[in-house]
């Protein structure tokens, strides 16, 4: 083999791998990414039932119901909306009524959401940034609520 043809083999195999990877990435980006919405976003954007998404908001006071087994339902609210979430499993640490939560799962339509995971918080001052920003925008942010990064002090 000449130097030229060797280089050709090298470059074409590199291109083949890269094309394969690019294909995979594009495919995965179409099918696997999950959008983050608050309850009012779901209304405003007319999210179709059956869509996978991350739902963020505050756990509505007095809405947590523990049923038989490990089934739990609670409502996630923001300023203008409310979604009922059903979840089976142990709730993460620091899950409290009136505090921020992020649930990932499937929107079932008509204000119902089936979560397959409820986000565990690393500590009380940790709130997912997406959620903190949405809450701030809606004026639901309380400065001293655990979850405000500012509460951590400087």
């Amino acid at each position: 083999m000449t130097r030229k043809s060797r280089r050709l083999v090298l470059i074409s195999s590199a291109l083949a791998v890269l094309a394969f990877a690019a294909g995979l990435v594009l495919f995965a980006l179409r099918d696997t990414i999950v959008f983050f919405y608050t309850p009012s976003d779901i209304d405003a954007k007319h999210v179709a039932p059956g869509t996978r998404l991350r739902l963020g908001g505050l756990v509505k006071e007095g809405s947590v119901v523990k049923a038989e087994g490990k089934a739990i339902t609670f409502a996630v609210r923001d300023a203008n909306g409310e979604i009922r979430v059903s979840y089976t499993g142990l709730l993460p640490d620091l899950f409290r009524e009136g505090q921020g939560v992020v649930a990932e799962g499937v929107f079932e339509g008509k204000g119902q959401f089936r979560a397959d995971s409820v986000l565990a918080k690393h500590d009380e001052t940790y709130m997912p940034r997406d959620l903190a920003e949405s809450l701030k925008k809606q004026g639901l942010w309380q400065h001293n609520q655990p979850g405000a990064p500012e509460a951590r002090g400087k």
Binding site: F20, A21, V25, L90, L91, H122, D123
Partner: protein, 661 residues
């Protein structure tokens, strides 16, 4: 006074860094030997200064000097001593100081071995190192001064984030930083080579030990981080494809590629431009990781404080070094001489394939990590890219690596015999197939796990195949031992490191055979968990040094016989008013029983999550084996030319097994 001395030493270190950044480089460009030889001395002095600063901060922590903002915010007088010492890097300022300390430590090591290097190479390397340390010292002094005082010193500190109060804090960050920062060495060597315009096999020999060292520590650091997350987060997961984890995985992938690539360059003087590029890339990704983790772009337990000013500063450093080195690369790379020729099917060819797959896999991780950030910045849409993305992209690119690894080891340099290699591996492949069938027969369960287990056995056996067949060709037992002893350490190193990949894969495969239970337990209740029975004996409070603890005392039985007691607990830290979960762990051969209890107001029934995870320890034993392999290779290099002296040709001590867990 000690604190002020530390602060002053840090400023002196910056001044020395500036001198070291300019004088030796000037010397190397103007061929002035006196200026070049100044570099090692300045580098050592710089190390001493940063070490004094670091020591001063540690002293402030140990004596609980709450007149320092940093100590007040992150320490508590009742905190156990180990967390006072390791708590120094459990916050933004201190961790950046540790970063710089390790950076100048590497600089000092180069300075000590400078006698074995050409003057212009060591001068340029140390000069580039000083550019980096200077930039980060400036960053610390301007935006993250750990020595800032409080006006009115408080009596008590706010304590360290309880989630960080774990022995993992003492091991994970230093290991990871040794890895991250270690790649600054390969970067400096690459930049020095570009500046001096000389890149050859000799250069590769100087770089290789540093690349190995950095890679070895990064491997251990990532594994330790994964194990820490596994036992603290309470989900039993060990890898979440979290951006922070990806930030450490990217330099690891690039570094692994670099390691293989320097082998080609050293042995065959080929792939020069690519090696230089990878050396730059590995450190650039380390810097990117530092930026992602420390700037507050991402929210996680690793982002200590989000201060936009700091983010912008690190972004500036990032741009300066990546942009600068790539510009230098673009100017100089076309002048490099073409390397030696090799056929596509050869050891070099196999290593090129390795590099291709590793860097492409690295690119997919890069896209998955940065795409959400870019999308949010451009359109405002918030998305999360989770495990499914990486399962579709990263995993398919990694699978060919498992199959190619044993084959590549059997190919000769220059021109290899693919068919011959494949034939020699027939037996190993059959063993893998057999193992897959046995796994399926024994465990049932998902076919994917059995198949992965089979591939893992293929990789493990295949890694040792070459060594084993060379040893087996000895005529007698004695001759075989002699052959095994005479084998270069690096050959053993390669075999161990590759087998480590297989071991990790086996651990991953075994996750499919695990059992998971969620139960509401009262005292006296039992839960069947695979072949084990777990009984809750009682729930009782227990005091700790700076927390209160609720402990669930549990007994594990197998067929009626008591195996062990475990005590999963929840700790409440009063100073920060927060709770952490301590998993109850029991190692049974290579598997683990893992129990966590949930946070709740009422004592009983106790919500409990129980797992039986067979072979799970293999996931972290694999990286440990990889690191041992790296250490074996390193001792080999040291004897041949290496970082220390070559004059005395005596056998070094066996590499100490490095603790990872």
């Amino acid at each position: 006074m000690i604190v002020e001395t530390g602060h002053f030493a840090l400023i002196l270190a910056l001044a020395l860094a500036i001198v070291q950044a300019i004088i030796p480089l000037w010397g190397s460009l103007s061929r002035d030997a006196t200026l070049m030889r100044a570099a090692p001395t300045i580098a050592l002095a710089q190390f001493v200064m940063v070490a004094i600063a670091y020591g001063a901060l540690t002293w402030a922590y140990v004596t609980s000097d709450f007149s320092l903002v940093n100590v007040f915010e992150n320490s508590h007088s009742l905190k156990p001593l180990i967390y006072k010492i390791s708590g120094v890097w459990g916050n933004h300022e201190g961790s950046m100081l540790l970063w710089v300390l390790i950076l100048v430590l590497f600089g000092a090591l180069v300075a000590l071995s400078a006698r074995n290097m050409p003057d212009d190479l060591s001068a340029s390397v140390l000069s580039v190192q000083a550019w980096i340390s200077g930039a980060f010292l400036l960053f610390i002094l301007l935006t993250s001064n750990p020595f800032a005082r409080v006006g009115m010193p408080p009596i008590e500190g706010r304590d360290l984030n309880p989630i960080l109060q774990d022995p993992g804090l003492a091991i994970h960050p230093p290991m990871l930083y040794l890895g991250y920062v270690g790649f600054s060495m390969t970067f400096s060597f690459a930049a020095a080579a570009l500046i001096n315009g000389r890149i050859d096999a000799v250069w590769a020999r100087y770089v290789r030990p540093w690349a190995l060292l950095a890679w070895l520590f990064l491997t251990l650091g990532i594994a330790m981080g994964s194990y820490w997350a596994y036992y603290t987060l309470g989900w039993g997961g060990f890898w979440f494809w979290d951006p922070v984890e990806n930030a450490s995985l990217m330099p690891w992938l690039a570094g692994t590629a670099l390691l293989h690539c320097t082998a080609v360059m050293e042995k065959r003087d080929a792939l020069k431009i690519w090696t230089i590029f990878l050396a730059i890339l590995a450190f650039s990704l380390s810097l990117l990781g530092t930026f992602l983790v420390r700037s507050g772009v991402l929210t996680s337990v690793h982002a200590f404080a989000s201060d936009p000013q700091r983010g912008v500063f690190i972004l500036g450093i990032l741009t300066l070094f990546i942009g600068g080195s790539l510009t230098l690369f673009a100017i100089r790379a076309p002048m490099l001489k073409q390397g030696a020729l090799f056929a596509p099917v050869s050891r070099e060819g196999a290593l090129v394939l390795n590099n291709l797959l590793l860097t492409t896999a690295c690119a997919t991780v890069f896209v998955g990590t940065l795409y959400p950030l870019a999308l949010e910045a451009l359109t405002g849409a918030k998305i999360s890219v989770g495990p499914p993305f990486f399962n579709y992209t990263f995993v398919p690119l990694f699978i060919p690596i498992f199959f190619a690894m044993p084959v590549g080891q059997l190919l000769a340099w220059k021109r290899g015999d693919l068919l011959g290699a494949a034939q020699r591996l027939t037996l190993v492949a059959l063993a893998g197939l057999l193992a897959a069938l046995i796994f399926y027969a024994m465990q049932g369960g998902p076919a994917l796990s059995a198949a992965m287990g089979g591939v893992a056995i293929f990789v493990i056996l295949g890694s040792f195949f070459d060594i084993a067949s060379r040893i087996a060709s000895g005529s007698s037992g004695g001759a075989m031992v002699a052959r095994a002893m005479g084998m270069p350490r690096s050959a053993w190193g390669t075999a161990f490191a590759h087998a480590g990949v297989g071991v990790t894969l086996l651990g991953l495969a075994a996750t499919g055979w695990g059992v998971e239970k969620i139960a509401s337990m009262r005292s006296g209740d039992s839960v069947e968990l695979g072949q084990w029975q777990v009984t809750l004996d009682k729930v009782a409070p227990r005091p700790g040094p700076n927390y209160r603890e609720t402990v669930a005392h549990m007994t594990i039985r197998s067929g009626g016989a008591v195996v062990a007691q475990i005590e999963p607990s929840r700790r409440f830290f009063n100073s920060r008013r927060m709770t952490t979960s301590q998993a109850g762990l029991l190692n049974v051969s290579l598997g683990q029983i893992y129990v966590v209890i949930s946070d709740q107001e009422t004592e009983e029934p106790l919500d409990t999550r129980l797992y039986w995870k067979p072979f799970v320890s293999l996931i972290w034993l694999g990286p440990l084996m990889m690191a041992i392999g790296g250490a074996l290779s390193l001792t080999d290099r040291r004897m041949r030319l290496g970082i220390a002296q070559r004059a005395k040709r005596r056998r070094g001590p066996e590499p100490k097994p490095l603790a990872a867990e």
